[in-house]
Amino acid sequence: MNSFIKLLKLCTGYYVYDIGRNSILRVNEQTYNALRELMKNDGADTTDLRALEGIRELLDAGFLSENRPTQIYNKRAFLAREYIENNLNSIILQVTQDCNLRCAYCPYSGDGRFDRTHSNKAMDSDTARRAIDFLVSGSTYAESIHVGFYGGEPLLNFSLIKTIAEYATERFNPKRVNFGLTTNGTIMNSEILDFFSTYDCTINVSLDGPSHIHNKNRRFAHADVGSHANVVRTLSALSERGIPFGISAVWDLEESITEINAFFSGNDLYTNVNIEPVLTGRIGTGYAISEENEYADAAETVQAMLWYVGELTSMDEQKLRRAIEPITNIEKMLVPRDTVPDVFHHAGPCIPGSLRLLVDTAGNMYPCEKISGESTVMQIGNIDTGVDFEKISQIMNIGKLTEKQCKTCWAMNLCSICGMWADVNEEVFSVESKLKRCDFIKNQAKSTLKEYVILKSVMEVTA
């Protein structure tokens, strides 16, 4: 018997994840053990096991199917045109590739193998206007518009930001336009503050915590000194003018998360703080989490999970929600269906450009700001030549690259791999790079799935 299932033995009981039906079933120990025997598929006579009441019941209800998808194809691909030609609502303009800092973990400061390097390239106003025109034509049904400014450090090209804000406001009138940028917080003057006061702006300032932690990584390019004092000055100026802002903190895994949390919670200036661990996956840096940090991080997850199962209340639900995100994401993916589809594509790829279309300084378009500006395979068009829907289809069908593995992968419904993970700045996608990511994703999916099932079971019992 070669059912398309995954067995889970957890502290709360025995479970079968039926991949075809995308459903998790609680079974008793006898059924679990019988299924384990059946899955060995070693040629032994399994008639008796199949006749077990628990197994028979599942088979009769259409579970335990041995079918796998016969073709890997993303059925949403044909929707790309609909999204991009009528349903866009945001665009991100890379107004400059330059930055006055050289942060240790920044992909722009890396070796350029996977990512980008700083340059003095800046977007000109003609390109920016055409990008806005592109969004106007593609946002017929949008209720409101978001224009993001991205860098490098976007405020290095403030004159362009100002010009484009005026232009976009006029072009989209009477729709509401929100502008967003994440800044390193070292460039601020009264003109910029006036701009933030005038327009509907979502501002995120990067601050990693107390000065010794922040300054360790966030250092000026022209002089090897930290930028903490400048950032704090900027935050104070924003606060004095009553301009709302959020703080993005990158957690250097070697630094104490407890100390970072204490820093932010000890000052009223820092009310909207989002702490994300440094992304080590793509920049190849050697940040390793300490045991103390691992414990503190896990303890926070426990707190969030207790909140999730209804055992704790908290003032900071937003923070807890973020901590529980992997669980809630997997919950969204577990939508039951009647059988495994013949044609299937693993979860992961978005419709490139539909959510966070990035236009770089030269007018090239990419699915989002996470993609390397050097990428050929992920470039989905250009402001002059338009969108390359064939390319979008290829990116959405990244599973074809590993069709054989994908057809039999137990994590196909829970996958989060997109084209970015198969992009190694070459002319074609890399199978090896994608498969390398597969191992990580499967481990992560298995772990999160287990946690999800335990929590659901706890919720059932405590309800």
Binding site: C11, K175, V302, P336, E451, V458, V461
Partner: protein
């Protein structure tokens, strides 16, 4: 002719704009729209002909317009509140306020339908529009369908909740009052009687288009609106041809379908796909406006040949949907409560013991190989259940640095009591 502005603009006002002949006294020159309908308005209204204002710009109304047309706000009570002051002011300034009732409902409809059914014996196809995502989609499709059928010289009766669909092309006018939702009660009966009257004249039509709008047929909030038109049609004639018109949820190929087909399994002959769909495949549910071409492709992917599908195709679809529903039932029951620590659940002591050597019992409980965060949640909840220990007390221990040994000691003393 009076210059009029629609305030606030709602999508079901579009036919009024597109059919200026409906009212010879008014000339609609502008609309004032909520943000959520701005895109729709800007797409479907010629801005050269009409000015489009954002909702917050209502101040401009008295300058430019003689009259303000107010749609029914029954389904938008908040909107009624938001607009009330402005309308009051406009009324005081002499602007004519015209309230248009687009929603009709009657608690007396159902008994009457049975009466109608017995008198109604025409074998005509019926198109049923299903209201799922957005009423404006249904209205658009109804109107476009009507145009298509008329091209074929078919006589078409359209039943929908907009007053401009065909059954009751009159614009109902009421003097606006401070309480906008107050509508003369006889209005509903008037509309209802017109509806039934037209049904009785059904032999004038080749096709009846029915909008399965909840506002029209709902008798109370507990009734599934998608079911009601089918109930009505069943009353009328059991052998009609059904064409299902639906907005689709591409995420799982048809959340719409399962609701619908669970109530009409085996009675559907064809499918028509609307132009607004909910795409929830990315996790978040997003309304997506699609072209008719795409909608047709989607419909054909769902059911094979488009636009006329065989009964066997539909039956197959029904079967698969019913299968999905069963799977969902199973999914719901899979987490049926079992007493913790009974049956298959592992005693928490066993979780703590695991394979950890005695010497390692001073390790942090969340160290790799001891407890995962969810397992610790299970342990905490079990302790709470078993000894009534407050979760906050356990969290305090966790913050201080909880080891296996410390928790075992804690358990052995039942929380120190």
């Amino acid at each position: 002719m009076k210059k009029a502005c629609i305030y606030p603009f709602l999508p079901d006002m579009l036919p009024l704009i597109n059919n200026p002949e409906i009212d010879s006294e008014l000339r609609i020159m502008g609309i004032c729209s909520l943000p959520s309908f701005l895109g729709y308005a800007m797409k479907h209204i010629e801005r050269e002909r009409l000015s489009v204002h954002a909702f917050l710009d209502a101040e401009c109304i008295p300058v430019d317009f003689d009259a303000v047309i107010i749609p029914s706000l029954d389904e938008h009570p908040q909107l009624a509140d938001d607009t009330c002051d402005t309308l009051q002011r406009l009324g005081e300034q002499g602007v004519e306020l015209i309230y248009i009732k687009t929603q009709v409902a009657s608690e007396q409809l159902f008994p009457d339908v049975n009466t109608v059914a017995s008198a109604f014996g025409f074998d005509i196809p019926i198109v049923v529009a299903y209201k799922e995502i957005d009423e404006m989609d249904n209205l658009d499709v109804l109107l476009s369908l009507r145009a298509e059928f008329r091209k074929l010289d078919l006589r078409v009766l359209t039943v929908c909740k907009s007053p401009f669909g065909g059954v009751y092309p009159d614009v109902f006018r009421f003097p606006a009052s401070a309480q906008l939702t107050e509508v003369p009660s006889n209005c509903r009966l008037t509309v209802l009687h017109k509806y039934i009257g037209n049904l009785l004249l059904g032999n004038e039509y080749d096709i009846i288009l029915v909008d399965a709008c909840d506002g029209f047929f709902c008798v109370d909030d507990n009734v599934n609106p998608s079911l009601l038109p089918f109930e009505i049609v069943k009353c009328l004639r059991p052998d009609y041809t059904f064409i299902q018109m639906a907005a689709g949820d591409y995420g799982d190929f048809g959340l719409v379908w399962k609701h619908l087909l669970s109530s009409v399994t085996g009675e559907l002959d064809a499918v028509y796909m609307g132009c607004i769909m909910a795409d929830s495949s990315g996790g978040e549910r997003k309304l997506l406006h699609i072209s008719q071409e795409t909608a047709n492709e989607l419909a054909s992917r769902l059911c094979g040949e488009y636009p006329v599908f065989s009964r066997s195709t539909i039956e197959r679809l029904c079967a698969s949907i019913v299968g999905t529903l069963r799977a969902e039932d199973r999914q719901l029951s899979c987490f049926a409560a079992v007493p913790m620590e009974n049956g298959a659940a592992t005693p928490i002591e066993e979780i703590l013991r695991r394979t950890i050597p005695t010497a390692d019992r001073r390790r942090h409980i969340l160290s790799n190989g001891v407890c995962s965060p969810a397992e610790l949640v299970y342990v905490f909840c079990t302790l709470k259940k078993r000894y009534g220990i407050e979760i906050m007390r356990l969290m305090d221990m966790l913050t201080e640095g909880l080891t296996v040994e410390r928790l075992e000691n804690f358990i052995s003393t039942k929380g120190g009591d």
